[in-house]
């Protein structure tokens, strides 16, 4: 043996592995393993994908154990965006908590506002005026389109196609303009609040919305031409990261991830909340190959289907929005809300269909103005938990395809 001369690179590598393994003793690192027969020495590597990585959509950290390009194991580490939302919820009044809900799933902030307001109203037994309810549905559906647009664009980016991303943002910009006209904000709106909306719709809003819907609907076909049915894109995503319906339910997947696995389950239809039972719309689900326009390679529950369900959902949201515009009544946009809300000593759990799945709020009151406990179920949190199960024996490029199709927003994973 030569002396103890360890090169800088070697030292660094060992230090890195020690760090990676901290708190993870069960990961078996087999270094310098002799492969059977060949005698060719190969090494498995541990690599950190994230918390700063272009395709982990924020600060998700995936620890990959790889053998060349093959990922043997993928362990998600979360918590890098933990902002104690639940602890804050115990210390502020429900109205004050609305801006915090904006920051959970920041791409679909309106739906979070909506869900928390509904939960608190259920606790208080409060009735919301008709116009307020319609405003809420309009905002939620509009925000669902915006959220799915980001998801669509970012997924294209994950697959190496930059152009769809810009197209998606072009359309999203119009939605944000509409939101800005409504409440002045473009990302964190705090617009829907306890008892209804904080302001009425501005003059001419329904006309502008109708104008946008007419403009937007043909664009979906353009996205499909550009990305959804692009041969390379289909080859990259179809049949990759297949999640069976049973697995999806067992892991608590909701939203497009669940529907991509062929489960026709949507809270807006199956457990209707607010006024969703008044609208006609379909629930898109994952398609087997060759059926309903899906490419031959597609499998129910694969990344392509999870992606395509979002595209179809945008169409359905447009349908709901058109019906909302037809039915939109006049009247109050907000119930009379007392200046100080005393939450009764009750407990409630309520879920709404968010951009990424079912957003749940458990609110416990105890007679004071601040709740005793606020628990938030972030859909991405549950959706992400299946990652280590699916990302096994796939290529590194597939990790981007799978995580991208699960479409996590770290704000609501870490809360």
């Amino acid at each position: 043996m030569r002396g103890k001369r360890v090169s800088g690179a070697e030292r660094n590598r060992q230090g890195m592995e020690d760090k990676l393994l901290q708190g993870r003793p069960d990961v078996l690192v087999e270094v310098d393993r002799d492969r059977a027969g060949g005698g060719l020495r190969t090494e498995e590597m541990l690599v950190n994908m994230g918390p700063q990585h272009p395709s982990t959509h924020g600060v998700l950290r995936l620890m990959l154990r790889i053998d060349g390009e093959l990922v043997l194991e993928c362990t998600p580490h979360i918590g890098y965006l933990h902002r104690c939302a639940e602890k804050i919820g115990e210390n502020v009044t429900p109205v004050q908590f609305i801006p915090i809900t904006d920051r959970l799933d920041y791409l679909a902030a309106m739906i979070n506002n909506h869900g928390y307001s509904l939960a608190v109203e259920k606790l208080l037994g409060m009735e919301v005026p008709e116009r307020g309810r319609y405003i809420r549905v309009i905002m939620s559906e509009l925000n669902r389109i915006a959220s799915h647009l980001v998801s669509f664009g970012a997924y294209g980016l994950d697959m190496g196609a930059f152009t769809p991303f810009v197209y998606a943002f072009r359309e999203r910009e119009y939605i944000l303009d509409l939101f800005e006209q409504v409440c002045g904000a473009r990302l964190t709106y705090s617009y829907l609040s306890i008892g209804g909306a904080t302001q009425d719709l501005p003059e001419g809003f329904p006309e502008r919305l109708a104008q946008f819907l007419d403009y937007f609907e043909p664009k979906i076909a353009e996205y499909n031409n550009l990305l959804s049915f692009n041969q390379i894109f289909v080859k990259r995503t179809a049949g990759v990261g297949v999640i069976s319906a049973a697995d999806a339910i067992a892991w608590g997947l909701t939203g497009p991830c669940l529907r991509g696995s062929g489960v026709k389950w949507d809270l807006r239809k199956c457990v209707p909340y607010d006024i969703y039972d008044r609208f006609e719309f379909d629930i898109p689900v994952g398609l087997p190959g060759g059926v309903g326009g899906a490419p031959r390679e597609a499998v129910v529950g694969d990344s392509w289907n999870r992606y395509y369900v979002r595209i179809l959902e945008m169409q359905q949201s447009v349908r709901i929005l058109r019906q909302c515009l037809q039915q939109l009544p006049s009247g109050d946009f907000r119930a009379k809300v007392p200046r100080v809300l005393k939450l009764p000593a009750k407990e409630t759990y309520l879920e709404v269909e968010g951009g990424r799945g079912q957003v749940g709020y458990l609110v416990v009151g105890d007679g004071k103005a601040v709740p005793r406990r606020v628990k938030i179920r972030g859909p991405s949190f549950c959706n992400l938990s299946i990652a280590s199960h699916v990302c096994r024996n796939v290529l590194i490029a597939d990790i981007a395809a799978i995580i991208g199709s699960i479409d996590v927003v770290m704000g609501e994973v870490d809360r």
């Binding site: 990585h53 294209g156 190496g160 930059f162 810009v166």
Partner: protein
């Protein structure tokens, strides 16, 4: 107290640290240019068995580089002043530059041809100035006038040394321009494809100075070495990637006369230089001490080695058809207009042309084969740990390679430096008065066509990049082994049978030529129609929606 004013923000302030960084950047740039020049000269010399070109080219370039570095340092020092002057003169300088490039590429080609003609008439070691003058004026006893000055200027061009030095300077300058223009153009193309404008600010007119500004910025950036990196290899890698990219241009004929070295084995040489480029990437990936870099380097090696096979087979088709490896000869064989282009010679050369283009995409790491630097998978692949000018060198190399393979495609399959117009149409003007000869020259052959065609295929590369998603590694391998390789086999075999069975002028050849021409013509017409339709209906297709501004906004 920090009082901030707009004037302060506008006035560049250079601290000692800035200067040190800038100096370092310039040193790297200088070394890179020097290394490129020496490497270029050396390889050129070795390739032709002439050693002195290396030494002299290197020395001259060293001087030039030093002068440039000094000048650039002055520019930095007096940036405010120079900046103001530059801003005023920006547009004239830019347009002048464009015209200048064309003239610079064009005039030497004419001069070379002239000098070669004179040399051919005077067999001997060297031609005297008087003989030059005689050739220029047609009268040996002419009084010393402008012709004498012209003869004096032309006289050195008959020596290989002069030509080498000119070629080195020209190629290094041209490659830098191609890279800077290519980066700017790519951003503009990307912007337009994505309903954006792309760079619009720097320099005024459509942000023409964006690459220049980026280059200056990169020069001043800190040159970071990460802990545990193999410093020597880490420093070396960018040069190893950069030099082969420059060397590609040694054998690339801009026109029959305007080629740095008209190598007997030009095609093989370019093929080899394309292959050597992978070493730089491998070194960069290994030396970075970063697992993502390493993965990127491995992907590059794997992809490059695989795609050399279909690339090589695709190259065999023109070699077999024309029986030469000399690029100028391959070009000359396609001088008669677009119907003589090799791509349209028979169906199999057309297949070979397409396979060649796809394979070069892979060997240049361009989308959809950009796996080595796949952003969404490997952060930035082998480039992850690079910063400043070292990083820029990789990009210079990439864009130079892109142009080189695009130009090579045009040399091999698409008529090299000849215009698509049938030669017979302009035959009468070829021997007319000077102005007719000049117009004929511009319209029919020369570096302008070469550069135009190169940039056309360059544009196709950009087009693909901003349209397609990225292929996965196993699919890259599949496409190589299962699709491209069989295709090249078919092309090779078919071409062999074709050459053996079909005499030139036979009815089959004529028929196939007609069909191919018809298909090509229809394609061109259809594409033009699509473009026209898109342009006429651009408002409706792109779709605009004006959201009324906010009340009081």
């Amino acid at each position: 107290m920090n009082k901030f004013s707009a004037e302060d923000a506008l006035r560049p302030r250079f601290t000692a640290a800035h200067k040190a960084l800038a100096l370092r950047g310039f040193v790297i740039a200088g070394v890179a240019l020097l290394a490129a020049a020496v490497g270029f000269g050396f390889v050129a010399g070795v390739a032709q068995g002439v050693g002195y070109a290396a030494a002299v080219g290197g020395v001259v370039l060293a001087g030039l580089t030093g002068a440039c570095c000094l000048l650039a340092a002055f520019v930095i020092r007096f940036a405010a002043l120079v900046g103001r002057v530059l801003l005023t003169l920006a547009l004239p300088i830019f347009l002048g530059g464009v015209v200048g490039i064309v003239v610079l590429a064009w005039i030497p080609a004419l001069l070379y041809e002239r000098v070669d003609g004179i040399k051919a008439d005077h067999p001997g070691a060297a031609v005297s100035v008087a003989q030059f003058e005689a050739a220029l004026t047609g009268n040996a006893a002419a009084a010393r006038g402008p012709a004498y000055l012209a003869a004096l200027a032309l006289w050195p061009l008959q020596f290989q040394l002069t030509r080498d030095v000119l070629a080195v300077v020209g190629v290094v300058g041209f490659v830098s321009l191609v890279a800077m223009f290519g980066i700017w153009w790519e951003r503009k193309v990307a912007g337009r494809m994505q309903s954006r404008l792309g760079p619009m600010r720097v320099g005024g007119w459509h942000g023409w100075a964006q690459s220049l500004a980026d280059g200056l910025k990169l020069l001043q950036k800190e040159d970071i070495f990460i802990a545990g990196a193999d410093r020597a290899l880490f420093r070396l890698a960018p040069y190893v990637a950069f030099i082969p990219a420059m060397c590609l241009f040694i054998a690339l004929p801009f026109s029959a006369a305007w080629v740095a070295r008209d190598l007997e084995v030009g095609l093989i040489f370019i093929f080899a230089m394309l292959g050597v480029g992978v070493l730089g990437v491998l070194l960069a990936g290994w030396a970075s001490n970063n697992k993502w870099s390493m993965l990127g380097a491995m992907r590059e090696a794997c992809q490059m080695i695989s795609y050399e096979i279909p690339l090589g087979f695709a190259l065999l088709v023109p070699i077999m058809t024309l029986g030469t490896l000399r690029l100028t000869a391959i070009g000359e064989a396609q001088s008669g207009g677009f119907h003589t282009w090799l791509a349209f010679a028979n169906p199999f050369t057309f297949i070979a042309a397409i396979v060649f283009f796809v394979a070069t995409l892979a060997s240049c790491k361009r989308a959809p084969f950009d796996l080595p630097e796949a952003e969404s998978e490997l952060v930035a692949g082998y480039l992850t740990e690079y910063s400043g000018f070292r990083w820029a060198l990789f990009f210079f190399a990439e864009y130079a390679e892109m142009f080189a393979v695009a130009a090579l495609a045009s040399v091999l399959f698409f008529g090299a430096w000849y215009s698509p117009l049938p030669a017979s149409w302009g035959a009468a003007w070829a021997d007319g008065p000077l102005w007719q000869r000049a117009v004929h020259g511009v319209l029919y052959s020369g570096p302008i066509w070469f550069v135009l065609k190169g940039f056309f295929f360059f544009f196709v590369q950009l087009w693909l990049r901003w349209t397609l998603p990225r292929i996965r590694l196993d699919q890259v391998m599949y496409a190589c082994v299962q699709v491209l390789l069989p295709l090249t086999m078919v092309a090779l075999l078919g071409n062999t049978l074709w050459l053996w069975l079909v005499r030139p002028g036979a009815w089959l050849a004529v028929a196939v030529n007609l069909i191919l021409t018809a298909i090509g013509g229809l394609t061109v017409v259809a594409m033009a129609a699509i473009v026209l339709y898109g342009y006429l209906n651009r408002r409706r297709l792109v779709g605009t929606m004006a959201v009324d501004p906010l009340p009081g906004g």
